[in-house]
Every structure is written in C-alpha cells, then in structure tokens.
Symmetry: C2
Subunit: 404 residues, 2 copies
C-alpha cells in the first residue's frame, strides 16, 4: 500500500475556513491514489484554553485528568475534518487514540507511543476510507487517555508513519519550510530544499520553531522522510532526510541567531570537581535555561573563569540564586545584557576545512567582536553583541553562499 | 452499597467557580458515607458552540462525527470536576462512555442506553473512589461514540441509577425544583415537595423545563425516585416518585401556561378518513409543532371544523403550507394570534368529581372566555386569550389551594 501520512498543526486547522482548506488538500492526495492517513492537532488556541481552565481548577491539576481534558481538543478537530471530507463526498471518519488503540508508556502528560494497532486502519484504508487520527493522544495499560508531552502531534505522525511504513510524512504548518536563517531577520533568507536530520536537530534546538527536536530525533531513528510545508500555499516545503540522501551539500545549510540573551561570568571560581554542578543545579531547579557554557582551562590550576548565557528575562532570578548560593566560591560576578548567539550549521563542515576561519574572518571584516566560541561537529556558535546580529547574518549568509 | 447518583446540568458546571461549588456538594455526600456516582453535562454553552462549528463545516454534518464532536464537551467537564475533587483530597477520576463501557443502540445523535458494564465502577467505588461519568454519551457495537438524543445527561443519570440500583438520583439544575406554576408568571407559585411521575410528565410536556419527558418516563418505568434541586442553594428540591408514595394528594398539583400561541381553524373540512393526516403530515415534515387539536363531530355528516394551535413563530409557514396543499378541501381558514393554553394537572382529579366545573366557573367568574377545551385523565387544558393568562393563573391557583 502506498501510504502517506499528512499531519496538520493547530494553525492549519485553526478556523472553520482552514479546516475546509486542509480537507481540500487531503482530498487531492486521495485522488492521486495514495492511501492517506491524516493526523490532526487541536485547533489553535483550544489547548491553551483548556490548560488555562485546569489551572483555575487547581494549581496542581491531576496529570491523569489533564490528559482527559486536553485530548478533547484533538477529538474535536478530527471530527470536524472527517465531517468536512464526508461533506465533500469522501469516505472518512475520526479515530481516537483508544479506538485503534495507540499504546503509550510513561507518565501522564509526557507519554511516548510504543505500539499502534494497525488492523482496523489497514482494513479501513482498503475500503477506501480516509482515517483522521487524533494526534497527541493514546492510552496506557490502565485504559486511560494519555498525551504525548514533547513533540505532540508531530510525534504521533512520525510513529504512525513508522508503523504503517508510510512513503512520506508531510507536516503541514504555518511556515513554508525551514529557512537558511530567520526570514524576519534577513529578507534574503532562502527556503532550504533538503536538510539532514542532524542539521535540522541543530536548527531546531537553536530556534527554528518548525518542529520539536524530539520528533526530528524520532524520525531520524526510524529513517522517516519528513516534508515540512505550509498548508496555506501550494509551494514545496523542506525535506528532512538522512545525510546519504543529500547529494549536493552546501558547506553550511543554515544560520541561526538568538535575540537579546544575557551573559554571566563568574571570575575566579575554585577549580575543583563538582563546581559546575553546584552552580547549574539550582538554576535548573528554578527552570532557568542555561544555553552556552564556556570554561577556560585554569591558568594557575586553582581558579578559572566560567561564562554562560541565559535569557535576559531570567537575569534577576539568576543573580539572586547565585548570590544566595553559599556553596559557590568566586571572586567576582559579571553580567552583560544584549548578547546574541550566532550559529552556522552544516554537515558540509565535517569534510571542508577552514569553515571556522571563514566565519571568524567574515565577522572580523565587519568589526564584529566575538566574545565566546562553542563548537560541535556540524555547528559553530559565537556570542556577539546583539546590535551586530543583522550585520553578522548578512555577512555570513553571503560568505557561505546561502543567498543563492 | 448505599449508592446515590448526582447529576449536574450544564448551568451547574457552567463556570470554574460553579465546578468548585459542585465539587463541594459531591464531597459532602461522600462524607455522609454514601457511595457517590456523579454524572455531568457539558459546561453550558460548550455544546452549542460545538454544534455551531459542525453546521459551519457542513449543512449536513455527519451524525457519526457529530457524536464524536459534541461528546467532547462532557469529557472536559468530567475531567475538571474530577481534578477539583482530587485537589480537595478525594480519590476521584473521570470515566468516559467507552471506558465502562456504556452500551447504546439506535441511530447516532439519538441513541439509547441498553447496558452499562458495572464491574470497573463497583471496584472503584469499593476502593473509595468518586467516579465522574460523562453524561450524554456511550458507544455502539462498532465501538464508535454515540450520544443520547432526547433527555441527554438526565437519561444517563437515570440509567446509571437503574443499573447500580441507586437509593437516590438527584438532578442538580438551575431551578429549585418543580413549582405549582411558573414563578416568573405568578409570584405566589410554590415549590412542589413531591409529585408523581405522571403529573410530572404532564407538567414537563406543558412547559416546565425542569426535565425532558423521556427521562421522566425512563424513571417511571424503572421506579427511580428523582430529586430535582438547585446546585446554587441548599434548599430541598422536588421529589418525583410513584403515586403510591404520595400520601397527601392535593386535587391539583400544578398549573401550566403557554405564551402567545396561535390558533388555526379550518372551516368546512370534508369529513372523511385520512383528512387529519393530510393536514398534519406536511406540518410535521416542516418541523411545525402542533399542540392542541380539536375537531367537533360533523353536524351534517359531510363537513367539520378543525382547530389546532401552533407557536406564533410558525404561523406564516403554516399558512403557506396549508394553502399550497391541494389535497385538503375546506371552505375557509381562520387564524388568531395571541392565544394561550392553561392546564391544570393533578392525579387527584381522578377521584375528585367537579374539577372541570370548578375550573370553568373560576375562569367565568373573571370573565375569561374559554375558546377550546381538551382533557386527559389527569389534566384539563383550555385555550384562552393571552391577555387573560395572569388573571387565570391567579384565580385557578387560589381555587385549587396551591397558594398554601
């Protein structure tokens, strides 16, 4: 069976008109003789509204009941899409997690799919039906509704693609695909036609809001090709696939940037085992997300300087936590607002020498000062002053030929 | 097990604050060592909003998907109530139709409960849990979600009371109970402490909006005592029970009235079999609700006059349908707006002679003209001019000692 999984995000089904639109997209695929499996998120706004209700009921709302509550959002969206397809003359119906079933393990609010019973859907597809499967939900061994925390409906789509051995998995969203850099920051940004899972993982965690890293990782592990595209246009999107499928590599695939972070430096920290943990543990407990961490080797073997970045919103909280923490010994603490992280990402840099040099030279040519450097196999990140972000994006985008 | 079924209507769970309130009511029953089964409707407004969406998707929205869509409303309400009870320290959880299951037969949107699997709930009650069961929903043989058309969550509550042999079934709503007549029309109206199913059926179909007739009939057939009361006050409500449980009968239990109906008279209708059907069938097809129908015997054996009442909103449609219907032969058609039906109801009238006379004399004493008369075993209805309704209610309420 030539199966394609189509997943629609919350904005793609956000209004009645948009549900009509996605139903047309689904119908067109069906006419191409594909067997179509549809996965839907809740209409945008619905989940937030339900979460808000749960918080008003209890500051510590039961996680079991949370899943019952929020899973109703996908239930509504699926029935509306199925209803529209039926209206348009197709055989269609909604399928909820318990109706297949989709089995999950792990805690409520954060379950993971481990098994999908395919029989009913295979039979239904053979009969010519279009199943509209509720994303984000499943059941556990106790026959209770669960929801898939991270990745949500994307994760549902990828697991369905895996179990049904789908030829394609298309993630419809409100952006046209993955771009070389944020089009809102650089108008010359170009849509990337094809990107590897590994690059996409770096892009995702660096701020490209297209897909959750956990879903990309699921796709990578199961070798599922994903196309990310917009449900509002007919233009092709971005294909996320394995490296070996990508024949023409650019050295750099994309550039990401953060907005207005803050830099914290602890000067003269005692250089002994466990010191980093003693600093970052209380920050983590207080939900402060630490991004870049750089520690130089200790010159005298006794003291070192430790630098890390955080969101500026968390700066005051961070100051307080560090100052109150008597376990940390340091001589001085420095703060700087208005810093940004620029990263260049590309599997091409593994085989191409001199990428680092080209990056630094380009920035230098525009008098952009590099404050901190951090690298991985397919990524180089530098910290610069936020006022230089635009300049940096322009020069790097040009240097690595992403304009074309 | 001493089980009580508590059912909460849409207005009783209409806001977060009201959900907190009903959770307190539930908690108090639990503390009284009752085993409590809760049935909830959707939060008021939610179902209408969902129905509206379905209509925007398709004028002929799939009935199967309609049930998936609207049943999500009860799902949300149940999880919120359970979440609140857990917050308050109770063991509680939501149960959806498919989780028991509650089995239904009949068409989608209008299914009926025929079986409830009790095992899981009994076990849960024994463990000290408070099950919050979604009203209005069940599943059919195909494992699809169904909804219970007429009676809705009330019907769910009554069937649960039946299968679990509950001691009491309390229907919480936004009125304090059943009144001798509409308190908005007559301030002297008194709450009825106890009323028979049969009287309640007449009251319900005559406009007391407390419960759907079909649910009262279910309760009557299964001999389930129902208490209707308000979730907003602590005052006792109205007990609906079998006649033999009611020791002190008043002759008349209640008086109902309609507002601003219209009267249609067909003069000189050919008096032959099938003529009534040929008039009322097209009205029924067009969803026009015909209330009182009176036909006098034919004086000459050939022609008769037929009078019926309808809602004034339907008058123009009715005129058109009758005039376009070539199958009906009549000499003249008369219309009159601004008529109202006054009914006195009471099992007491079976054993008490002279009730009809007392009703007519009372109305006559106030110069109220009776246009049409219709009676059943426990009810006498008359049609009067709408301007006389208030006067009629006052004189009848006093005549039959309902003021006390």
């Amino acid at each position: 069976m030539k199966i394609v999984v189509l997943k629609f995000g919350g904005t793609s089904v956000g209004t009645i008109e948009k549900i009509k639109k996605v139903s047309r997209i689904i119908g067109e695929f069906r006419k191409k003789k594909y067997k179509v499996i549809v996965v839907s998120s809740a209409m945008s706004g619905v989940t937030n509204e339900l979460v808000k209700k749960s918080r008003l009921i209890s500051e510590n709302f039961s996680e079991n009941e949370y899943d019952v509550l929020v899973s109703s959002g996908e239930q509504m969206a699926c029935s509306l899409i199925a209803g529209r397809l039926i209206n348009n003359g197709f055989k269609s119906r909604s399928w909820l997690g318990w109706q297949l079933p989709i089995f999950t393990y792990g805690p409520h609010k954060n379950s993971r799919i481990y098994q999908i019973n395919k029989n009913k859907i295979i039979k239904y597809l053979r009969e010519g039906g279009i199943p509209i499967i509720a994303g984000f939900q499943g059941i556990n061994k106790e026959n209770r509704i669960t929801t898939i925390g991270r990745g949500g409906s994307d994760a549902s789509a990828i697991m369905l693609a895996k179990f049904f051995k789908a030829k394609r998995c298309i993630i419809y969203t409100d952006v046209e695909g993955v771009f070389t850099t944020d089009p809102n920051k650089l108008s010359k940004a170009k849509k990337i036609k094809v990107i590897s899972y590994e690059e996409m993982l770096e892009m995702a965690s660096l701020g490209a809001k297209v897909m959750q890293p956990v879903s990309i990782q699921d796709a990578r592990l199961n070798r599922i090709d994903i196309e990310v595209k917009s449900s509002f246009t007919n233009r092709p999107g971005t294909l996320i696939t394995k490296k070996s499928n990508i024949t023409k590599n650019k050295i750099i695939t994309g550039i990401s940037s953060t907005h207005n972070d803050s830099k914290v430096t602890l000067v003269g920290v005692k250089d002994r085992p466990g010191v980093a943990a003693s600093i970052f543990k209380p920050l983590s407990i207080n939900s402060i997300n630490v991004d870049m961490v750089v520690q130089n080797i200790s010159a005298n073997g006794k003291e070192t300087d430790l630098t890390f970045t955080i969101k500026t919103d968390d700066l005051n909280k961070t100051k307080r936590i560090i100052k109150e923490n008597k376990k940390i010994n340091f001589r001085k603490i420095l703060f700087e607002k208005g810093v940004s992280k620029i990263s260049i990402i590309g599997v091409g840099m593994i085989t191409t020498p001199g990428v680092t040099f080209r990056m630094f030279q380009s920035l230098s040519s525009k008098n952009i000062n590099i404050q901190v450097i951090s690298t991985s196999e397919i990524k180089i990140s530098v910290l610069i002053n936020s006022k230089d972000v635009k300049k940096a994006l322009i020069v790097l985008h040009k240097e690595f030929k992403l304009d074309k």
